[in-house]
């Protein structure tokens, strides 16, 4: 960084119609990426509602989007209970997209919470359709968003890996899970099964 009173003048131009900022000369990839991000942010700033001209502080949250996401999850759960798994997956997917499309300045903790619940449920629906690959990835996403208090997602990925025959990986995964959720009976049981399978394979 230069001293505080100088800066590098960049050859930027503003497109009169699209209002997008671009570089006048062919630019480095870093600059191009940055400008793309900037234009995106500009568009999302334009969608701010009337009293705000700048991004409001993270808290309090506008409850509209949260309510929509909760509704999507509920209807996904309803579909799931009626064994309409593809519909449930679609509902959860829309919910996930919506949660991830939250403007960046809204609390990231909230996004984590919502996304992890939706991914865990979608993993379950995939598992009911015996789509182990998708189930495993969704469960991993869920765990990535929320490690503690998410025993179901931990269990689901372990189960998916077991179903795919990746017993070592599953055992390792469940071992990790037990570091977070040592008292979870389902995880302990799965661990026992996996260990038995490993022993059997070792023979």
């Amino acid at each position: 960084m230069e001293t505080s009173d100088t800066f590098t003048l960049l050859p930027l131009t503003l497109d009169p119609t699209t209002k997008a900022i671009s570089s006048a000369i062919p630019a480095s990839t870093a600059l191009t990426e940055e400008l793309t991000a900037l234009n995106q942010l500009h568009r999302s700033l334009l969608s701010l509602e009337a009293p705000h001209t700048v991004p409001p502080p993270p808290l309090p949250v506008v409850p509209k989007r949260s309510a929509q996401i909760t509704k999507l999850r509920e209807s996904g759960n309803a579909d799931f209970r009626k064994n309409r798994f593809p519909e449930a997956i679609r509902m959860y997917s829309v919910g996930i997209d919506m949660a991830l499309a939250r403007p960046g300045w809204e609390p990231s903790g909230l996004v984590r919470e919502e996304v992890s619940a939706l991914f865990a449920n979608r993993a379950q629906a995939h598992m009911s359709l015996q789509q182990w690959v998708e189930g495993a990835l969704d469960a991993e996403s869920s765990v990535e968003m929320k490690k503690v208090g998410n025993a179901k997602a931990w269990w689901r990925r372990g189960k998916c890996l077991q179903e795919m025959g990746r017993v070592e990986e599953a055992s390792e995964w469940v071992g990790q899970a037990l570091e977070f959720e040592a008292a979870e009976a389902d995880l302990l049981q799965l661990k026992k099964e996996l260990d038995a399978q490993l022993v059997q394979k070792g023979r």
């Binding site: 131009t13 209002k19 991830l100 300045w105 690959v133 179903e163 025959g165």
Partner: protein
């Protein structure tokens, strides 16, 4: 008659004095300049700051529209987000670096570079806050909260895309694996008449994973298990969500 020789001595004295001083000062300055040039800045170019200031100083030309406040706010927010990244880096590095310095594991100039970066980032933060307040009163108090959420949200999204991006490769692997297993099972059925033990030790089940070797018989048991796994999870879910 002027005593030329007597006069030359003080002049020579002054000349030598001035000459040696100027040589010394130029040498000293050169060395100092090269030393500070060798101290590379801690961070690279601050692209977001450059963009913001470029936009701020853009001359309104005929034909091209004026850069709106919205653009400037977006650019400022991007700049604040980059500052958050830098602050986190500085904070993480500080503890380790001071320990290393105490042990003598790193040189003094690294520490000097670090301190310069620290000072720069402080100045940068003050600058961003005052710019933000210029756009809208009190934005300065919340801009870094927003920026830090933005940084974390961006991180969440990259992680999710990363994990979900593995889907196609994993699926491909699993399709291959399934084909291997089913061909293994078919072979087993064929070989059943020759009263071989039901261990799938055929060469065709050599797939990418080492776990694949003897899975034939294991999978049988697992597949029977799976309907029981479904409802079990389902019940659990009903309870909680």
């Amino acid at each position: 008659m002027v005593d030329w020789i007597g006069l030359a001595i003080p002049f020579a004295y002054i000349g030598i004095l001035v000459g040696s001083l100027s040589v010394f000062s130029s040498l000293y300055r050169k060395r100092k300049a090269s030393k500070s040039a060798s101290l590379a800045p801690w961070f690279g170019q601050h692209l977001q700051r450059d963009i913001y200031l470029t936009l701020l100083h853009q001359e309104p030309e005929a034909g091209s529209p004026k850069v709106s406040d919205g653009h400037l706010k977006a650019a400022l927010l991007r700049r604040a987000t980059e500052d958050i990244h830098r602050i986190v880096q500085i904070r993480n590095a500080k503890q380790a670096l001071s320990t290393l310095l105490q042990r003598g594991s790193v040189g003094d100039d690294l520490w000097q570079r670090f301190q310069r970066a620290e000072k720069e980032i402080e100045e940068e933060l003050r600058d961003v806050v005052s710019e933000a307040n210029a756009f809208s009163p009190n934005w300065g108090q919340t801009i870094f909260q927003s920026a830090s959420e933005m940084a974390q949200n961006a991180q969440i999204r990259t992680r999710i895309t990363e994990i979900q991006g593995q889907a196609s490769a994993e699926k491909e692997w699993w399709e291959k694996r399934k084909a291997d297993i089913s061909s293994g099972l078919m072979k087993e059925l064929d070989e059943e008449k020759t009263t071989k033990p039901a261990l799938a030790s055929n060469p065709s089940s050599n797939s990418a994973k080492p776990a694949a070797a003897k899975i034939g018989s294991d999978d049988d048991a697992v597949l029977v298990d799976s309907p029981a796994g479904g409802p079990k999870g389902k019940n659990k879910k009903k309870g909680k969500h």
